[in-house]
Amino acid sequence: MGTAEHISKQFEADLDTTRTRVLQMGGLVEAQILAAIQAFATGDATLVAQVIENDARVNGYEVAIDGACNHIVVKRQPAASDLRLIMAISKIVTDLERSGDEAEKIARMAAKIHEHGAHHAQRFPAIRHAAQIAVKMLRQALDAFARLDVASAAEVLKEDSELDAEFRSVLRQLITYMMEDPRTITASLETVWVAKAIERIGDHSKNIAEQVIYIVKGTDVRHTSFADIEREIAKD
């Protein structure tokens, strides 16, 4: 076996390991979001504590993966598609870390809302519905990253508008509650923060999906209309 081949094999292995770590970080963030939403629905204090504690692990992943990316760039000086992959990974990791922060925020808000009396949250299935959409988007974006599946990444971009619509309807509902019964204002405002955090998770998932398209196609589709993106994907 030649030295060059050996080096490229080692490089290949480094990339694979990093990819798997990104996906594991994604799995952890997904679990964090689910736990945070569960805490919002039930007010389970141990769950809240667990989410807050686990956020340190999410941050740990970010630091470690970023370090690995830098290491690969410096040592191997990758070009073309490999470089794109490394750059996309370091952006994806940022989005995952922020999603993790949003999950922590939801958990903290859940604790506050349940201090004010739990019944308001229990009767708010719209939030949980929005959260389901957000988690599904994140999962699909990560699947698309694992498979480098552009079509599935494009679907995530489409779902983001569905989530935005859901967010607006949650807001309308909360405004109605607040007008009907001013005693719910405090809890409602805190619920708005939860809804906003869910909406942000959707945005981060969308960013991840855009990075997948960038890895495969080499085109930057950020700030591009969906119709244009679809045209771009159909090319070649």
Partner: protein, 410 residues
């Protein structure tokens, strides 16, 4: 030229020809062996023919063995495909080699696109990653399915050369039954214990303290409803157990109109004028079945509506004939039920709001009784509800349970 020279020359020519022939056969063999896909070996005579024949036989045997192996593989794949478990074959690095349809569905794997991906790239739950890392596979791992909403039991089995099988099984149903059984015992004990604590508290007080007759009468007055509550709970438990174990109900005629009037009267009695209770009968018909069971189901639905509707609300009882049979519905303008509770509503002791149910005299068994009683008449219970707006409970009977109405004398 001497005779010897001629003989030598002829011999040389003969050897040359023989050599050429051998070389030709050798070339044939070479050409045959260099084909990418082997065909039958060439024909030849003599010693070469024997070699070719041996090769021919050898090839046939190889082909046959290969076919058998391929068939065996197809058969075993088909067998793995037919298993009710999700099966994924993983290589030494826990990378996916192959998986069946159940694994595809339960774990979201794609046997084509995910081939040679580390399994943790697709099944990313931290518990699973940790399970693989710890490499202790003596116990299966319970995990929420990646799609959400279901519970999977995952287990790794090692086989062959550091290869692994990942088995997954959907245990959502089993887990629910388990939880129900656990809850049931805890709930019955709790429900009986609460009134009993009150009773024994009063009994001790009466025994220990010298109380005047009026005081004792007051205490007894407080004790009676607790005893009544225990009796109601035990009655409901016995009803439920009878419904579960009794033979199928008789097909006696149930006169529906008077039955519905009675149900309405009971609802009105419980409401004590606090609600508007209406009864509408669209399409007269009688039912075939056990009257006691049907009456208890309908009364339960109607009194539930009264319990969960604030004063001033409306309760509409309605019987109507449909294309597939008949249905009895109870609609209220009450507090409604959050959709997440609907699937579990007919479970024993399942309560959306514990305090409220007990305070209105519910045992937590009403809807279980309704569901069982209806199921014994091949009827189903549908629940529609909007939180804050109200609920509608509908019992749908198949046409086989209906009988043209007969008016009762009097």
């Amino acid at each position: 030229m001497t005779a010897l020279e001629i003989i030598l020359l002829l011999a040389a020519a003969g050897l040359g020809i023989a050599l050429l022939r051998q070389l030709r056969e050798l070339r044939k063999l070479r050409r045959w062996a260099s084909q990418p896909r082997l065909s039958d070996p060439p024909e030849a005579g003599g010693a070469w023919g024997e070699v070719f024949n041996l090769l021919h036989r050898h090839r046939r045997a190889t082909l046959k063995r290969r076919r058998e192996l391929a068939q065996l593989m197809v058969r075993s794949r088909r067998g793995a495909q037919a298993l009710p478990y999700g099966v994924a074959v993983l290589d030494a690095g826990y990378r996916l080699d192959w998986c069946n349809d159940a694994a595809r569905e339960q774990m979201g794997l794609d046997p084509e696109r995910d081939r040679k991906q580390p399994i943790v790239n697709m099944v990313r739950a931290p518990e699973f990653v940790e399970y693989l890392r710890a490499a202790d596979f003596s116990e299966p791992l319970r995990l929420g399915s990646p799609g959400g909403g279901r519970t999977l039991s995952l287990q790794i089995v090692a086989f062959g050369d550091e290869e692994h099988l990942l088995l997954s099984q959907d245990v959502t149903g089993a887990e629910r039954v388990e939880a129900m059984r656990r809850d049931f015992v805890a709930n019955v004990s709790h429900e009986l214990r609460t009134p009993l604590t009150v009773l024994s508290g009063f009994l001790e007080t009466i025994q220990d303290l010298k109380l005047d007759a009026g005081r004792i009468r007051d205490y007894v007055g407080l004790m009676a409803p607790q005893a009544e509550r225990m009796k109601r709970l035990i009655d409901d438990l016995l009803t439920l157990s009878a419904l579960e174990h009794a033979p199928p109900p008789d097909a006696e005629r149930i006169f529906l109109q008077p039955l519905l009037q009675r149900v309405r009267a009971e609802a009105e009695a419980l409401s004590a004028g606090k609600h508007r209770v209406s009864l509408e009968i669209a399409g007269a018909s009688d039912l075939l079945g056990a009257e006691r069971e049907i009456a208890s189901a309908f009364t339960n639905l109607a009194t539930n509506a009264v319990r969960y509707t604030p004063p001033g609300g409306e309760i509409r009882l309605r019987w109507k004939l449909t294309s597939s049979g008949g249905e009895f519905s109870v609609e209220d303008s009450g507090i409604g039920i959050d959709p997440e509770h609907l699937p579990r509503l007919t479970e024993r002791f399942y309560r959306v709001d514990r305090g409220r149910s007990r305070e209105t005299g519910g045992t937590g068994l009403g809807l279980s009784i309704v569901k069982h009683a209806l199921a014994r008449h091949q009827a189903v219970l549908d629940i529609d509800s909007t939180p804050g707006k109200g609920s509608r409970f509908t019992a749908r009977f198949p046409s086989a349970r209906l009988k043209a109405a007969q008016t009762v004398a009097g």
